[in-house]
């Protein structure tokens, strides 16, 4: 049994059960694992001597290996991007509305790869894995990883799968940062980069939210410097609060107002510290659910990867210089009500690409859902992605 299969039960709780449209689903999928023995030098200076990446694929790689699309995941997701598991039909991939036969990223044309990033808790090498040097679980000793480290590891997976150049690398939010980093670091290894609900770096406000989340975890008495597993505990209270903070920022003010408003949980006020309002109940539910399946050490590292991402940093803040190497066509999409990764931040990326005369297309989708919009069904958004991939298909067609 692979670690991914073992962890699937945990992941199940993370995905919303959606009505499965069987004709447009990739159907049953099976996670695979790739082992790497060539050491990987990380940005932090440490080296991963030996590691494993868990991934899934959908569709068929064509004869000239030109139709592969890599889908990068954001904060809490995984390699399970589309389809379901035979023994767990409710566990639907996190971007199943985007990826499948006849969907915007059409698996009858493309060979799509989802991969769990290093430091993750869904099967790839991370804090839950055993450190080959000590024979013990990494726990809090697992290195701090960055977007660039993830991309380097993904490139090695591409090598192993025999993919010299992706038709596209695609992601939303933190996943979009990886798609952008791909275009910067491996300009010849992708034809297109699809960058959705992204930012060229986190704002102070964003880092602040991440720091609140991290402090909630680190100050949980069960955290034990990250080595909680050996003691058979987990900083669930901290992780719960971290997730609650996150959820506030993924929704727009309007969306929260229309979904919850000031609705009461029990129909009347009880003047206690129990849940009075529906929004409190929602946040507690999300927090509890998350704390049950997600690893706190992974959460800490992923929020750090977000904070560190800043391609312009090495160029004195000059994003145009940072994006000079980009050769791919870039589709940038933002959502009007996304205040965590606002359209203005996407426009910074667009501006830098325009300065470089890159092949950039930019769409700003008027959607009410805030940052979460990139995961939801929106006909304008999905049509646009579909049209873009239709063009990519024409480009790679022999």
């Amino acid at each position: 049994m692979t670690p991914a299969r073992k962890l699937r039960g945990f992941f199940m709780a993370a995905t919303k059960t959606r009505t499965q449209d069987l004709a447009h689903s990739v159907g049953n999928v099976v996670p695979q694992a790739a082992h790497f023995t060539e050491p990987l030098l990380l940005r932090c200076g440490r080296v991963l001597r030996d590691y494993e990446l868990v991934y899934e694929t959908y569709g068929t790689l064509n004869a000239d290996r030109s139709n592969a699309v890599l889908v990068c995941h954001a904060l809490n997701a995984s390699h399970h991007v589309a389809g379901v598991y035979a023994d767990d039909p409710d566990n639907v991939g996190w971007w199943d509305n985007m990826i499948g036969p006849g969907k915007p990223l059409d698996t009858s044309r493309y060979f799509v790869i989802g991969v769990n990033n290093l430091g993750g808790c869904h099967g790839s090498t991370g804090p839950l894995s055993v450190d080959p040097d000590t024979g013990r679980r990494w726990g809090g000793e697992f290195p701090v990883v960055t977007v660039e480290d993830w991309v380097d590891a993904q490139a090695r997976l591409a090598d192993q799968l025999g993919i010299a150049q992706f038709a596209a690398v695609m992601g939303g939010s933190l996943g979009a940062m990886q798609a952008l980093a791909w275009a910067i670091r491996y300009p010849q290894r992708l034809r297109h980069s699809v960058v959705i609900a992204c930012a060229p770096n986190l704002s102070a406000q964003n880092i602040a939210f991440n720091e609140v989340a991290r402090q909630a975890i680190i100050t949980d008495p069960d955290f034990n410097g990250g080595n909680y597993q050996v003691q058979g505990v987990a900083p669930k209270r901290g992780l719960r609060v971290a997730r609650m903070v996150g959820h506030i920022t993924y929704l727009s003010d309007d969306e929260m107002a229309s979904k919850f408003g000031r609705q009461l949980k029990h129909g009347k006020l009880n003047y206690t510290f129990d849940t009075e309002f529906q929004i409190e109940s929602y946040l507690r539910h999300q927090g509890n659910k998350f704390a049950d399946y997600f690893d706190a050490n992974t959460y800490l590292r992923i929020t750090k990867a977000l904070d560190y991402f800043d391609p312009a940093f090495e160029y004195d803040g000059n994003l145009t210089q940072a994006l000079k190497s980009v050769a791919a066509g870039v589709l940038v999409i933002s959502f009007t009500t996304d205040w965590r990764f606002s359209p203005e931040r996407s426009r910074e990326i667009v501006r830098a690409l325009l300065d470089n005369r890159a092949r950039v297309t930019y769409a700003e989708i008027d959607a009410p859902h805030g940052h979460d919009a990139f995961l939801l069904d929106d006909v304008r958004y999905h049509r646009l992605v579909a049209a873009y991939f239709e063009r990519v298909h024409q480009e790679i067609a022999p």
């Binding site: 501006r351 325009l354 300065d355 092949r359 297309t361 930019y362």
Partner: protein, 198 residues
Amino acid sequence: MTGINGEQRPDFAAIAQWIRRDAHVLDLGCGDGTLLKYLQQARGVTGYGVEIDDGNVLACVKNGVHVIQGDLERGLSEFVDNSFDYVVLSQTLQAMRNTERIMREMLRVGRAGIVTFPNFGYWKNRLQILRGHMPVSENLPFEWFNTPNIHLCTVADFERFCTERGINIVERTVLTGGKSVTSWPNLLGELAVYHFGG
């Protein structure tokens, strides 16, 4: 914005005649991207369209045109000075709230500007006014109550506007039924095409 989608418009050939091969072009209010697609094919140009409408942005992607979704009324802050050989504003000037600002922005980001607009002084328009109604025609397809065209002008008006602001008109073509009009352009011309700036 107000572009007539699909069919190639009569002003496109007039615009294309002034555009050098392999030039870098910005098309403001590019509609479904037909002009840029035409220029890419006929003149080998590179460049971008700017468009506000979701449907048109989608059509641009389908047409293989690089489009930036945005509102021209907010200016062209995405684009740095002198980054284009030509900035085109076809059949959109008359729908802009701030006419002078967009003209200045065109000359900031581009070395030259090209605008096209329906000539309100065309005799058929004058005739409809004489009959007591706002003109409705192929080039002015809207009724008074649903038109986006808030700043209609004549050939004479536009030239006075440029003269007063020191904007250099390089070339002019006035068209009727797709054919060039040489005499009495303000009366006989249906569509005006101007090349201005550098």
